[in-house]
């Protein structure tokens, strides 16, 4: 337990030592702010038009939460597609390249602790990034009534989806000593999970349902609408477990091969 904490702390210190941390955080803040202000302004215009036309308003079932926050939370997946590989790429690759993985693997430390420490470090950074976005619903609540249950559900969804993305990135990082390659592999895998959704639309049943269930993005959508489905939770948690398991296999393989 202690060891996991020390690994996590070292990773965080190292992360904030490099300029990439600040670039990612800045890009994230700018992009999320861009998506939020866009959604906010278009909702403001739209609601003013509807105010002049009450009959039309009745036809639309639009709440401020769904109109403003849904697109913001949906965009998290898209940004995460780029950010998750960037956050996770160096974790194992750099240690392999510098040879420090040999040190890690000869210290009294379990492979699982090493994985957990690294995983927690990027999860922590991701949570900081999400924490920044809490200002959006708070700003919105100053003007209109915000449905906080949906907001909570959406946050649960983004945390779980983010965890799955990060574990995929970590897995890719454990496969290579080249950070760029690691990021590219992670990006390709994550991108594939989006493309699967497109395939699902084209395919016929039952393949369609299976493909839809495999898609990472689909599961987030339910959370954003305020639906907490155990199937979604199990799917996302399973991705973490699978990636964790494969990382440990990859470390074992690394030991064998030397």
């Amino acid at each position: 337990m202690h060891n996991t904490f020390f690994i996590c702390r070292r990773e965080l210190a190292s992360f904030f030592f490099s300029p990439i941390a600040y670039v990612i955080l800045a890009a994230w803040t700018v992009l999320m702010g861009f998506f939020y202000s866009g959604a906010f302004l278009s909702y403001a215009t739209f609601s003013m038009q509807l105010a002049r036309n009450p009959q039309a308003a009745a036809q639309y079932n639009i709440t401020p939460t769904s109109a403003v926050l849904e697109p913001v939370f949906s965009s998290v997946t898209v940004i995460l597609l780029f950010v998750a590989p960037l956050l996770s790429m160096r974790l194992f690759s750099e240690e392999k390249k510098q040879g420090t993985l040999e040190l890690m693997l000869t210290l009294p430390l379990r492979n699982g602790q090493l994985f957990a420490g690294k995983y927690l470090s990027i999860l922590f950074i991701y949570l900081i990034m999400l924490a920044i976005t809490i200002v959006y619903p708070i700003i919105l609540s100053a003007f209109v009534k915000v449905d906080w249950t949906i907001v909570s559900s959406a946050y649960l969804g983004t945390v779980l989806t983010g965890m799955a993305f990060l574990s995929v990135g970590l897995l890719a990082s454990s496969w290579t000593s080249n950070q760029i390659v690691a990021a590219m592999i992670a990006f390709m895998i994550l991108l594939a999970t989006f493309l699967v959704e497109a395939l699902a639309i084209a395919a016929s049943e039952p393949l369609s349902s299976i493909l839809r269930h495999l898609s990472l993005g689909v599961h987030l959508r339910n959370f954003i609408r305020g639906i907490i489905d155990t199937r979604d939770i199990i799917y996302l948690v399973n991705i973490n477990l699978l990636c964790g398991f494969l990382v440990l296999r990859s470390l074992e393989y690394y030991r064998w091969r030397g």
């Binding site: 040190l103 693997l105 000869t106 091969r257």
Partner: protein
Amino acid sequence: MIRVENLTKYYGNLRGVEDISFRVEEGEVLGFLGPNGAGKSTTMRILTGYMPPNSGSAWVADINVSESPLDAQKNLGYLPENNPLYREMTVRAYLNFVASMKGMSGSEKDAGIQRVVGSCGLEDVANRLIGNLSKGYRQRVGLAQAMVNDPPVLILDEPTSGLDPAQIVEIRNLISELKGNRTLILSTHILPEVNMVCDRVVIIHRGRVAAEGALDALAANMQADFTIRLSATGVADALSDKLKTVSGVARVELLGTSTGEESHFEVHAKGDDDIRSDLVAAVYAAEGKLTEIRQIRLTLEDLFVRIVSGEQEHDEETVNA
């Protein structure tokens, strides 16, 4: 303290080590020698629990490495060949991190860090980034890392490789200071280093133990005959004839004659008896004047070359058979 039994490790079809066995007693410094690619690093990596062997077992501090790697790892300090360091950390932060990972905390940890910073001469650079240090200092940081929890067993893989002569001397002195209270395995292909610090050597070649023992004993075993280099002025033939008559002489070789009528001989003796004074007498009997006489000792280099080339001949024989 350290025991290796029938260790075999293959990388796919490539032989790492094959059926290696040796022991190191408590407080002993073992030199681990061999040409590049002989299997030194492989053995060390197995000992440190980094790599599992295909077969055989290893014990460090009397703990089986395969069965309880974490306990074994707590009792050893390891400096890998490429000296892994986090360049973005300060020396102190790095040592602090490694000490924490080795289960130290509080004042014990502070004292440990203070001790190795002192003993490795890192006081001046303790708060600098490792990435900005010179190679010699980095190597010291690597050593400090290995010793921070004062482990009973230290395993150092080529600690002086890639250093300049002054830095090599520094590191060697540091290692010499460690002698006595720790069990130490030191791999190297630099032979004088072994002469200076090691009590015993294991020479491995092509993944097998080619020779093992105390340095003197090894040299004595390999030194089939007693050889004396001798120079004298006088008539070369007369000198040669007289030298041959000395009892205990097997063979006299005239190596050459230099200006001033000085002749150089190599005399091979039969037994272990010291015949040097008899040879001197023979020179005077031939009316020559002795200018130089010395016994040729087998250096570690000679020993190493003999063992390694002997192995090769042996291998070829087996192939031919």
